[in-house]
């Protein structure tokens, strides 16, 4: 489904801030994989997701989505294949537009937009049904501006928008990190529900090791722009946070320093 071949990316080359964020990264996802990604700060998790999304181009390497080479495709064209939810709840939605208008924008992802109506009557009814599934009461607020919603509501809406057109790949970049624990759990629950319902191939970054273990069928750990651990299937089910910490110390030769990963 997704294939990353030997990706390299260096930020600010030739300056004092030079940072090699991807260092020969390779990864292959199978159809229907739900992969959780963990790693310390600066390990290259978000960089990997942004490379796939096309926020900028990689220095070297190749990115294939469902066999199509998208390495040189600009961000807005790649969007046809991708559903994305960001860490900041403000990033994924247009605050000054109505809930149903946001959904209508997402419905047309990957299609040519011209002078047809931006939203049709029948669409409103469809969105009402889809919003009901979230169980957040948004189905009665179709014409409310998204700016009035809470962070959790916005993330749930973004999730719905990302999957309205079934994406070939769903990218979740710490999409619960900015939420309080209760809301985060609710959004994760919705995530699981949608991913299972639509059999979506998913990459989910989290800095919560428990979440990384509980969700998905495969777990990868990153460090210094490479994948240092890749566990799937039965092995993953048996994982504990202690195992992951040991693995990390073993691989890196140092203690895991990210407090939030331990406490989460």
């Amino acid at each position: 489904m997704l294939e990353l071949k030997n990706l390299y990316k260096t930020f600010n080359p030739g300056t004092i801030n030079e940072k090699t964020a991807l260092n020969g990264l390779s990864l292959k996802l199978n159809d229907g994989d739900f992969v959780t990604v963990i790693g310390g700060n600066g390990a290259g998790k978000s960089t990997m997701l942004n490379a796939v999304a096309g926020t900028w181009f990689v220095d070297e390497g190749q990115i294939l989505i469902d066999g199509v080479d998208v390495t040189k495709l600009p961000e807005y064209k790649r969007a046809a294949y991708l559903g994305r939810v960001f860490q900041d709840p403000m990033t994924g939605t247009a605050a000054t537009m109505e809930i149903q208008e946001n959904l209508a924008l997402a419905k047309r992802r990957g299609k040519t937009r011209f002078l047809r109506p931006g939203i049709s009557k029948s669409e409103s009814a469809e969105y009402r049904e889809l919003l009901k599934v979230l169980g957040l009461g948004l189905e009665d607020r179709l014409t409310s501006k998204v700016g009035l919603l809470s962070g959790g509501q916005r993330q749930a809406l973004t999730l719905l928008m990302a999957t309205l057109q079934k994406p070939k790949l769903l990218l979740l970049d710490e999409h619960t990190a900015a939420l309080d624990p209760k809301t985060a759990a609710k959004v994760l629950e919705i995530t699981d529900m949608i991913v299972n319902r639509d059999h979506l191939t998913t990459l989910m970054i989290t800095h919560n090791m428990k979440d990384a273990i509980q969700h998905g069928n495969r777990l990868i750990m990153m460090m210094n722009g490479q994948i240092i651990l890749d566990i799937a299937g039965e092995d993953k089910k048996k994982l504990t946070v202690r195992d992951l910490l040991d693995q990390f110390e073993h691989a890196s030769g140092e203690a895991f320093t990210n407090d939030s990963a331990l406490l989460g």
Partner: protein, 308 residues
């Protein structure tokens, strides 16, 4: 201080306000919808008039001349758009660069700094002579008002289409827009072209109205446009929620601006100071949202929704 002098001047002020209202709608599109302060308009506000007058002087029909003027404005918007998106120049600087180059372009279009057109010899659509004592269908105020209603209807329709919605999204949240497959660079260019087309159209009307185009007629246009947008929002913001009415509010803001201006002139202020005063008034109005947030913000409500 004859009150009749003021009353006699008001219809003219209203007509000017209406004509600048078209321009203010253009500014609204970039400033409020695209979230770009586009300074190109200071140049475009002359280009439209220059193209219109020169074409009419060479025997062109008034509608064809105004259409060409609109096209010229869109071209100017295209240039700013390319400076901004393709060449990565910050929007304000891109606008200033186009504005400056338009000064030369406008001189070349007109051949000199000023071109007059005689209302008796040419078939003008609007003129300051068509305010009073003309049949009602020739009345400039009525004609411009009808044009504005048609324009607002067209824009209302356009911003409800898929392309129009994607334009609004581009201005509101470019990151989200790209993630939803919207070509934000192209949309920014379209928005700038649309805006400058409207400004040039307004300029074509203004040149006919005053009977000449002048290389300096666009100086400070952005400030007048912003003033109209801000006054319109301040006065009518609470009652006009619908997009079409918001545009109408901008036009009414422009009319108010010219009525106040006329009154201030009637009160006998030194007219050399007018631009200074306009700029200061706009500066204060622009500062209001900032001050409000900084000094008068209410503490956020605790509790709120129990849902997520």
């Amino acid at each position: 201080m004859e009150i009749m002098n003021l009353i006699n001047a008001l219809p003219g002020a209203a007509a000017q306000g209406l004509i600048w209202g078209v321009m203010a709608i253009g500014v609204y599109l970039t400033y409020r919808i695209l979230d770009v302060a586009d300074l190109t308009v200071d140049g475009t506000m002359c280009t439209g008039g220059a193209v219109c007058i020169m074409l009419m002087l060479s025997g062109c029909n008034v509608w064809v001349a105004m259409l060409a003027a609109t096209g010229a404005g869109m071209l100017a918007g295209l240039v700013t758009g390319i400076f901004h998106t393709f060449m990565g120049i910050p929007a304000i600087l891109a606008g200033i660069l186009t504005q400056l180059s338009l000064y030369s372009v406008n001189l070349k279009i007109m051949g000199k700094a000023n071109q007059a057109i005689n209302v008796d010899k040419y078939d003008l659509l609007v003129s300051l002579r068509y305010i009073k004592n003309v049949p009602v269908w020739q009345n400039t105020i009525l004609i411009v008002a009808v044009i504005i209603l048609v324009l607002i209807a067209l824009l209302y329709w356009f911003f409800g289409t898929e392309l129009g919605c994607s334009l609004r999204a581009t201005g509101c949240n470019p990151n989200m827009s790209r993630a939803q497959g919207i070509n934000t660079a192209r949309n920014t260019v379209i928005g700038l072209m649309l805006s400058n087309g409207l400004v040039a159209f307004s300029s074509a009307l203004l040149a006919q109205y005053q009977g000449f185009s002048d290389v300096n007629m666009g100086r400070g246009a952005i400030v007048i446009g912003l003033a109209a947008v801000i006054i319109g929002e301040a006065v009518f913001g609470k009652i006009f929620r619908n997009f079409g009415f918001k545009l109408l509010g901008v036009v009414l803001g422009s009319i108010l601006y010219y009525l106040v201006l006329q009154t201030v002139i009637w009160l006998g202020i030194d007219t050399d100071l007018l631009k200074l005063l306009s700029a200061l008034v706009v500066a204060v109005f622009l500062a209001f949202p900032y001050w409000k947030g900084k000094y008068f913000s209410k503490p956020a409500k605790k509790g709120g929704s129990t849902n997520a």
